[in-house]
């Protein structure tokens, strides 16, 4: 039955890894500006398409 203990500990470790990822996201400023990244993504797309069009 000790497999439950192992599973719980493993799941905790995984969860803590995600928690640390969250800390990193906060500290690196990903929550500072929640608007421009969404728009920026679309812009990059457009530029790429144009580049491809030029390459053809």
């Amino acid at each position: 039955m000790s497999v439950i203990l192992v599973l719980i500990l493993v799941s905790l470790v995984v969860a803590i890894a995600f928690l640390i990822a969250f800390f990193w996201a906060v500290k690196s400023g990903q929550f500072d500006d929640t608007y421009s990244p969404s728009v920026r993504m679309l812009f990059e797309d457009r530029v790429k398409k144009e580049k491809e069009a030029n390459d053809d």
């Binding site: 039955m1 439950i4 203990l5 719980i8 905790l12 969860a15 803590i16 995600f18 928690l19 969250f22 800390f23 906060v26 500290k27 929550f31 500072d32 500006d33 929640t34 608007y35 421009s36 728009v39 920026r40 679309l42 812009f43 530029v47 144009e50 580049k51 069009a53 030029n54």
Partner: protein
């Protein structure tokens, strides 16, 4: 006969970003644009069929905005200023973060992040949309900071540079936000895990699995440690602080509850007598932190603490030997000769030594028609020179000037502390809970001493005013969001409670209850034919005077094609234009040799075509539409006062608009306005002050609630508790109504949460509070309070027709 008509504003949508095109819309290839950025982007993209992205370097963007004769950024060449503005300086490379107030739509982001295509010297540029800050890395040997600022300005995104911004008063706020997010993360993480680990206990562990029980319990204990001591730590420190001041704020009962929960649960686990209440404990902290985050919504790009320093320039052109060089304004002394160019602000009181200057005081008084000053006139600081460059001799140091000495007043010290409703309630609440806990402990001590300590802690646990503590943040947070959608931005949620405590509204006149943009313009004299209109339209087109712009708009006529043959502007008087052989004179009455109409107090611009005197354009301040309705809606609850810096020529008109009993004061200096507010407050009145200019700064500061009115919220506004977009001024009664309703919602949710507490406490007193009951009851009460407050605020705001 008088011919009167008004300008009709056409509201259209920007072709590129879809925003409303307000004043000053731009047209290109039959499309309207809301801003230069959009227009530039459109121009570039359309001329290239959206394909040839690389011809961006042809940069039509550079020609979009009429280049001012002189750049206003040459002070950035001054080494000491440059060093303060720059973030980082490496070899051949510099990084700077600039505040760009104009950023407002997606194409702004696009353009600003593609700066390297305009200027290869830019390595990269990243914009933070919510704080409107642009960070640029660039090669400093190919481009100077000044050139960067000029380039941004030329594409319509002039940076706002002042030292206040560069020493970054906002940074501590940011780390606070991040810390709160991290705390929420930890609390949420632990909450989820502890809840899972508690299930076996709630569901009842049978037989073999019993050996894992203490493992689950100790794990819960371990997971609750960071939550109690890190995430919830501030409740303990805040409770201690207020206990020292012998004042029980809401954090005191929370801290007591958390402590009781933690001690009781740890005891149960260590003594192996029960599962403890760890999931309730951790969930409680999690909900409380969420509440804090919800209420803490801030408007990052708005600044509520600006003083004159952030409006005044960093540097001004001072005469050193025979040349003018930029020097920091702090170093200006009496007797210095300074040069102001078009658009520059006079930083200190001075005497004009050139013949004429046209000074725009709109930021100071709200009056948008520039005033003319003659040689030898004493000119107050804060005015913006319009037109050609002029020289002044400084009379006072910057901080001692007429306007700026206002900031030496002690009203600019600490503001009075407002006791929040929740803290008033919590004082009684704490006492009551302690009473119930102690008396039930005494009761059990007599009947069954083994239960005493259990019941005592159970009462403290269940009485923990989580729901009570959540009702205010969620109500206020919802109200702030509704206000924000209606362009009414609060400095923080406390302002809502302060609004509820007021009973007097004080208005500034110019710019607050009168329109600042495009004042009503009418033509008095013989009726103008379409052809004459077109002639005047052509004539004024080459003048840079702001009044000309309005006349130009007014005289819009189609189907005529006139050419300007000569144009001569006589500074401070008017101009003579020869259009298709006709001499047209536009300007002051004296300049045309006619009598000024004395009955009309408004600014007058007279016109003659050929030898015929046609009449004059009259610029009148108009009161904002809907003002009467607003005053009507508010008059039952508020007294009104008007503080005007102008003379009393409008007194009769104002008297007829304001209800009887309102006080009108005229000729108020900035100091007078501050004193007037103090006087009103001395009679036990709490004041909402509405003002728009720097001259209202003192009054705004002194009032309980100072609301700055501004046409464009991204532009400068004086320090205040709230910023209201001028177009939404007429919703003020609704805002106040919602704030009042908010108070009722808070009280109702207090009752709701107290009901839960009553049920919980009676269970606890009876000794029936099992961890399972606590685990259901406590989150249930929190969630129902959250749902109740947010939905009722949204329903009420819909009912009073706020967006």
């Amino acid at each position: 006969m008088n011919f009167v008509s008004t300008i009709v504003k056409n509201e259209t949508h920007c072709y590129h970003c879809g925003e409303d095109c307000l004043e000053g819309k731009l047209t290109f290839e039959e499309h309207s644009f809301c801003c230069n950025g959009c227009k530039t982007v459109y121009e570039i993209l359309s001329s290239n069929d959206l394909c040839d992205y690389y011809s961006m370097e042809n940069t039509p963007g550079f020609t979009v905005r009429d280049k001012a004769e002189h750049s206003l950024f040459d002070f950035l060449d001054n080494e000491s200023i440059k060093r303060e503005v720059l973030d980082f300086e490496g070899e051949g490379f510099q990084r700077v973060t600039l505040h760009i107030p104009n950023v407002h739509c997606s194409s702004c982001i696009w353009l600003l992040e593609n700066l390297d295509r305009l200027k290869p010297a830019v390595l990269d540029s990243v914009i933070n949309f919510s704080s409107k800050k642009l960070t640029v890395n660039y090669k400093s040997d190919e481009m100077s900071l000044r050139q960067l600022a000029e380039m941004l300005d030329s594409i319509g995104y002039g940076p706002q540079i002042n030292l206040k911004d560069s020493d970054e008063s906002k940074k501590p706020q940011k780390t606070f936000d991040k810390q709160l997010l991290i705390k929420i993360g930890i609390a949420g993480f632990c909450f989820g895990n502890v809840m899972l680990l508690s299930f076996p206990d709630y569901l009842g562990i049978a037989g073999v699995e019993e050996e894992y029980r203490s493992f689950f319990r100790y794990l819960s204990l371990a997971l609750s440690l960071p939550v109690v001591f890190y995430a919830g730590g501030e409740y303990f420190t805040s409770a201690l602080k207020s206990a020292k001041q012998k004042f029980a704020n809401i954090d005191v009962p929370i801290a007591i509850g958390l402590l009781a929960l933690f001690v009781r649960s740890s005891y149960e686990v260590i003594a192996d007598v029960g599962p403890g209440y760890f999931d309730s404990l951790v969930g409680l902290v999690f909900f409380l932190l969420i509440g804090k985050w919800f209420q803490g919504k801030t408007y990052e790009s708005l600044s509520f603490d600006r003083d004159y320093q952030s409006y005044f320039p960093l540097a001004v052109q001072k005469r050193i030997n025979d040349a003018f060089e930029p020097v920091p304004v702090k170093e200006l002394k009496k007797g210095d000769e300074v040069l102001l160019r078009n658009g520059e602000v006079l930083p200190a009181d001075a005497i004009l030594i050139d013949d004429y200057a046209s000074i725009d005081y709109s930021f100071v008084t709200g009056e948008s028609v520039p005033v003319t000053r003659k040689k030898g006139d004493y000119v107050y600081a804060g005015g913006r020179q319009v037109g050609k460059q002029v020289r002044f001799v400084i009379q006072k140091e910057v901080s001692q000037s007429y306007l700026t000495q206002l900031w030496n007043n002690d009203a600019f010290g600490e503001k009075e502390v407002h006791t929040k409703l929740i803290d008033k309630v919590s004082r009684y609440f704490t006492v009551l809970v302690l009473l119930v806990a102690v008396s039930s402990a005494i009761f059990w001590q007599i009947t069954d001493p083994s239960q005493t300590w259990l019941v005592f802690t159970a009462v403290l646990i269940i009485a923990c005013p989580c729901a009570l503590a959540l009702s205010t943040p969620f109500t206020m947070g919802s109200i702030m969001r509704v206000f924000g959608r209606n362009h009414f931005y609060l400095k923080n949620a406390d302002v809502i409670e302060k609004i509820n405590a007021t009973n007097t509204i004080v208005f500034d006149k110019t710019g607050t209850i009168t329109e600042t943009q495009g004042e009503a313009l009418k033509f008095c004299g013989s009726e103008l034919s379409e052809a004459e209109k077109a002639l005047i339209h052509t004539a004024v087109a080459s003048s840079t005077h702001p009044l000309s712009r309005w006349i130009k708009q007014f005289t819009e006529a189609k189907g005529f094609d006139y050419n300007i043959e000569s144009f001569e502007e006589i500074e401070g008087k008017g101009f003579v234009v020869i259009v298709s052989g006709l001499t047209i004179k536009v300007g002051a009455a004296k300049f045309l040799g006619v009598e000024k109409n004395q009955e009309n107090n408004a600014t007058q611009v007279h016109v003659s075509i050929g030898d015929d005197y046609k009449g004059y354009f009259s610029f009148e301040a108009t009161y904002r539409k809907g003002l009467n309705a607003l005053l009507d809606a508010l008059k039952s609850k508020f007294k009104f006062q008007v503080l005007s810096g102008d003379n009393d020529k409008e007194a009769e008109r104002l008297k007829s608009m304001f209800p009887v009993g309102s006080t009108l004061r005229f000729n108020q200096s900035p100091e007078d306005k501050l004193k007037a507010i103090k006087e009103i407050q001395a009679n036990d009145n709490a004041v909402i002050m509405l003002g728009d200019g720097l001259n209202d700064a003192g009054a705004l500061q002194q009032s309980k609630v100072g609301i700055a009115i501004t046409e464009d919220v991204s532009l400068f506004s004086p320090a205040s508790d709230a910023i209201l977009k001028a177009s939404n001024l007429m919703d003020l009664d609704k805002f106040i109504k919602l704030a009042h309703a908010g108070r009722k919602v808070v009280v109702a949710s207090f009752i709701l949460s107290l009901l839960y507490n009553c049920v919980g406490i009676s269970l606890a007193v009876a000794g029936e509070l099992t961890p399972l009951v606590a685990a259901i009851l406590m989150p249930l009460s929190s969630i129902s309070v959250v749902v109740f407050t947010t939905t009722s605020i949204n329903l009420i705001s819909k009912k009073i027709k706020l967006k």
